[in-house]
């Protein structure tokens, strides 16, 4: 697998995933294959975009990297380690600290009965063992980092706007100082103006911390904006993969071209 000092942080090779579709009346499971031999790599400090329509398998790949579902074949290598070699259900805490997630719905990804501040503080306390004033300072700094007013920490998720909720979720993901963050439709549920802010935030955090992202999205515009490299998924296979500008300027497959054509555009005004 890739050496720790390689400039590649995540390498996915020939990844094949199937999920249980249901069981026959005899109890034998029936499988549907959702990802077929997908390979890509994510460089340190860069963003890899996984684009596709519903059912393309993009979120499934994210779940496999986060070890939420079992993998049928292929390997996932992270920073010199082969993630897919670990037995199911055993994930080293070091990997949990290195790879974090931001989900689509900030409202559902936060515990409704926990104050925003406690959600972040719990992660800091758990991973770094900080307490008392040190813990407070660290949480304050995380709030500052994600552009969240400190007094909002005393609110429950329901009392925050969507953008604020997503900032709390990002602060929680950053609590353990991860190297890779999986953003699973992380801005799709937000209003347009809020999306722009959260994307600006993600980019700033990337620059400051050297973070790598796997950015899963159905929105080609957003992907173009944030990602260095893109893989276009259809029915669990890449139809196009490469540098973002190449894909957007010179799409190779018909499917990618159709996707690009379908994006609604403004009349008479060109995006600057």
């Amino acid at each position: 697998m890739n050496a720790p000092n390689d400039d590649v942080i995540l390498r996915v090779e020939d990844l094949t995933i199937r999920y249980e579709k249901g069981r026959s009346i005899w109890g034998t499971p029936r499988y549907g294959q959702v990802v077929h031999g997908v390979s890509f790599s994510v460089k340190r400090g860069e963003t890899f975009g996984l684009v596709g329509e519903s059912g393309s398998g993009k979120s499934t790949i994210g779940k496999a990297i986060l070890r939420q579902i079992p993998v049928l074949g292929g390997t996932i290598g992270f920073d010199g380690e082969t993630v897919t070699d670990w037995p199911e259900g055993t994930t080293p805490l070091a990997y949990r600290r290195a790879v974090q997630v931001v989900f689509q719905s900030p409202r559902l990804s936060l515990n409704a009965r926990m104050l925003a501040r406690d959600t972040v503080a719990e992660a800091v306390h758990f991973h770094l063992g900080l307490q008392g004033r040190e813990l407070d300072e660290r949480v304050d700094r995380l709030f500052d980092d994600v552009g969240l007013a400190r007094h909002l920490g005393d609110r429950y998720p329901d009392e925050l706007s969507g953008g604020q909720q997503q900032r709390v979720a990002i602060a929680r993901a950053l609590a353990c100082d991860p190297r890779l963050v999986i953003c699973d439709e992380a801005v799709s549920a937000l209003d347009v103006s809020t999306q722009a802010q959260v994307i600006a935030l993600l980019r700033r955090l990337q620059e400051e911390r050297g973070l790598s992202y796997v950015f899963i999205s159905h929105d080609l515009g957003v992907v173009r904006n944030l990602c260095h490299q893109v893989g276009v998924l259809q029915h669990g296979r890449f139809t196009d993969i490469g540098l973002t500008e190449d894909i957007f300027e010179r799409p190779r497959s018909d499917y990618t071209r159709a996707l690009l054509d379908a994006i609604p555009r403004f009349p008479g005004r060109t995006a600057a």
Partner: protein, 594 residues
């Protein structure tokens, strides 16, 4: 765009959010806003105080008998009378309360401590643990509680403790089942997944994250089981299997009352009332907990608001009058308001006016909380209770809709106004055939035969581009893809030849390629049928592609309106510019959104 600029962009919205919604009232405040719960709570608190301090509060020794005073009625010395041994009934009832609460603690306490953790554990672990434990629970629950208590007492001997431990075991099973069910529902939610990905230990996830979210149903269950425990204790003591003979217990008092009923009919009154009121109080408390945990329920129970009479709209000028008569839909100064926590009304749509001409596609754009969907609901006469249209007028083809009775509104929805919503799969019933769902309104509104109706449904499905339309009428929604289902929804909305089609975020749940097809379809429908469409969306780019005119909404107000080309070329309002700017940032090439 810089982060500061981005923050400035959201700032007015955020300010408004903190200003208007403020913080919602806490759990206790919601609990205490219900009169029946306050009564129940007071009774339970009184019972606890009396039980704890019975030795100080009771006027007499509960066991001091006096043959001289036996079976007396109400008197100044014995307020509630005396029993067959001349013991003071009030004092006995007070001490009986202590027995009752003791029984509750004995029955509910151990059950909570055993049932909830096991329920959490088996639900989280699943597999064989779950299967074996649940089968044992089912076996235990198949045995009636009283029978179980009898067996327990037969083996371990008489007494309150044994009786209540038997009850407790039964209660533990119901806690276990309840907790398991709640955990299974919470487990797949994103906040639990986020906790797993943080690497938190299983006990931490169970007790710190899942349990607080399950506390509502558990509290409700506890309150109800407390009432059941009191009934069971009374029942067992009545049968002589509970407390020791002579001890003051409400059930035992009832047993005494039964024997001397003929000589002193008032005897059964005291323990009977004590049992009834206490059990009732615990049940009311349970209802109160449930409502307070789910605050929406409390609101929806309030009285239906008074309908408001439409205000006559005076046309400002001959030109305006002309436009008024020409438009399919015309909203004039429409406001929708909701009662806020203080009792005052708060406007969610304020003073919105716009008109849609025949054959026009009008886009209503706004972000979440802008009031665009509430405006639609107002047009359809479906402003959710306790909200109401507080002023203004809504004219559909010259007919006033505000203040129209629900019966007439129902005839207008579906017949004069067709609607298409965001998620076709949510809007379609999974157990009925597409064809039957499409013609339901037609048969109801126009009373034509099923065969004719199906004929028209097939024509429309064909029109919206569903291939092999006639055969697909017999398919169920799950056999349709998302895009095809949305086409079917549009066809269904068109079936009564409505004057206006309202499409509320009809492409938001769809993939981009499918979105394009649906938008093309809308344009084609306007051309072939001359349909007027009110298109509600958050996506400016979609509006740009589809609509003739646009209204931009923000915090309940229509801030800008104009033809699509004019609005996009030269947005007047700062908010419109912000929206356009944000969208362009997002769609720009790498690094634009800085």
């Amino acid at each position: 765009m810089s982060d500061q600029a981005a923050n400035a962009l959201e700032a007015p919205l955020e300010a408004a959010l903190t200003q208007t919604s403020d913080r919602r009232p806490g759990f206790l405040a919601r609990l205490l806003s219900q009169p029946s719960t306050v009564f129940a709570l007071c009774w339970v608190i009184l019972l606890v105080i009396v039980a704890l301090f019975a030795s100080y509060l009771a006027p007499h020794d509960p066991n001091a008998s006096s043959v001289m005073r036996r079976l007396q009625g109400f008197s100044s010395n014995n307020w509630l009378g005396t029993d067959d041994l001349g013991r003071d009934l009030l004092s006995r009832a007070m001490w009986g309360g202590r027995v009752a609460l003791h029984a509750v603690a004995m029955a509910v306490g151990p059950a909570l401590l055993v049932g909830v953790p096991i329920g959490l554990f088996v639900a989280y672990r699943g597999g064989w643990w779950d299967r074996i434990v649940m089968r044992l629970v089912e076996v235990e629950q198949a045995i009636p509680m009283l029978l179980f208590a009898f067996t327990f007492i037969a083996i371990f001997g008489r007494g309150l403790t044994n009786a209540m431990l038997a009850v407790s075991l039964g209660f533990a099973m119901s806690y276990l089942r309840l907790t398991r069910a709640v955990v299974l529902a919470e487990r797949p939610k994103a906040y639990v997944q986020a906790a797993e990905i943080q690497g938190y230990s299983v006990p931490r996830i169970l007790f710190r994250h899942i349990l607080p979210n399950a506390i509502g149903p558990i509290a409700v269950q506890t309150s109800i089981l407390a009432g059941v425990a009191i009934l069971l204790e009374a029942m067992l003591s009545f049968l002589g299997l509970g407390v020791a003979t002579g001890s003051p217990s409400w059930g035992a008092m009832l047993d005494d009352a039964r024997r001397f009923q003929i000589q002193q009919p008032l005897l059964s009154l005291v323990p009977g009332a004590a049992i009834t009121i206490t059990v009732l109080a615990f049940n009311l408390l349970g209802d109160g907990f449930r409502d307070a945990f789910n605050s929406d329920l409390v609101i929806s129970r309030r009285k239906k608001p008074e309908p408001v009479a439409a205000e006559p709209v005076v046309a400002d000028s001959p030109a305006a009058a002309e436009a008024q008569s020409n438009s399919v839909l015309r909203l004039s100064h429409v406001s929708v308001e909701f009662p806020s926590h203080g009792g005052a009304y708060q406007k969610v749509v304020s003073d919105v006016s716009f008109a849609i001409a025949p054959g026009e596609i009008y886009g209503l754009v706004g972000e979440s909380g802008s009031g665009k969907s509430m405006t639609t609901a107002a047009i359809l006469g479906q402003a959710p209770r306790p909200g109401r249209v507080s002023s203004g007028s809504i004219l559909l083809d010259g007919k006033e809709l505000v203040g129209l009775p629900e019966r007439q509104m129902r005839a207008i929805r579906g017949r004069d106004i067709g609607t298409v919503f965001q998620d076709p799969m949510m809007a379609l019933s999974p157990v009925h055939k597409i064809g039957d769902q499409m013609i339901e309104g037609l048969v109801r509104h126009e009373g034509i035969s099923r065969k004719q109706a199906l004929e028209r449904a097939a024509e429309l499905l064909d029109l919206v581009g569903v291939i092999d339309a006639r055969n697909r009428l017999n398919d169920y929604p799950h056999q349709f893809s998302g895009g095809m289902a949305q086409r079917a929804m549009i066809a269904a909305a068109l079936i009564c030849r409505p004057k206006l089609l309202i499409a509320d975020e009809p492409t938001t749940a769809l993939d981009v390629t499918v979105q394009k097809q649906v938008l093309d379809l809308m344009l084609r429908l306007r051309e072939t049928l001359g349909m007027s469409i009110l298109f509600i969306t958050h996506d400016l780019a979609v509006v740009a592609q589809l609509c003739d005119r646009v209204g931009v909404m923000k915090l309940g107000e229509l801030v800008e309106e104009g033809t699509t080309s004019a609005l996009f070329a030269d947005p007047k309002h700062a908010y419109t510019r912000q929206l356009l700017h944000a969208r362009e940032m997002l769609d720009g090439p790498m690094g634009t959104a800085r």
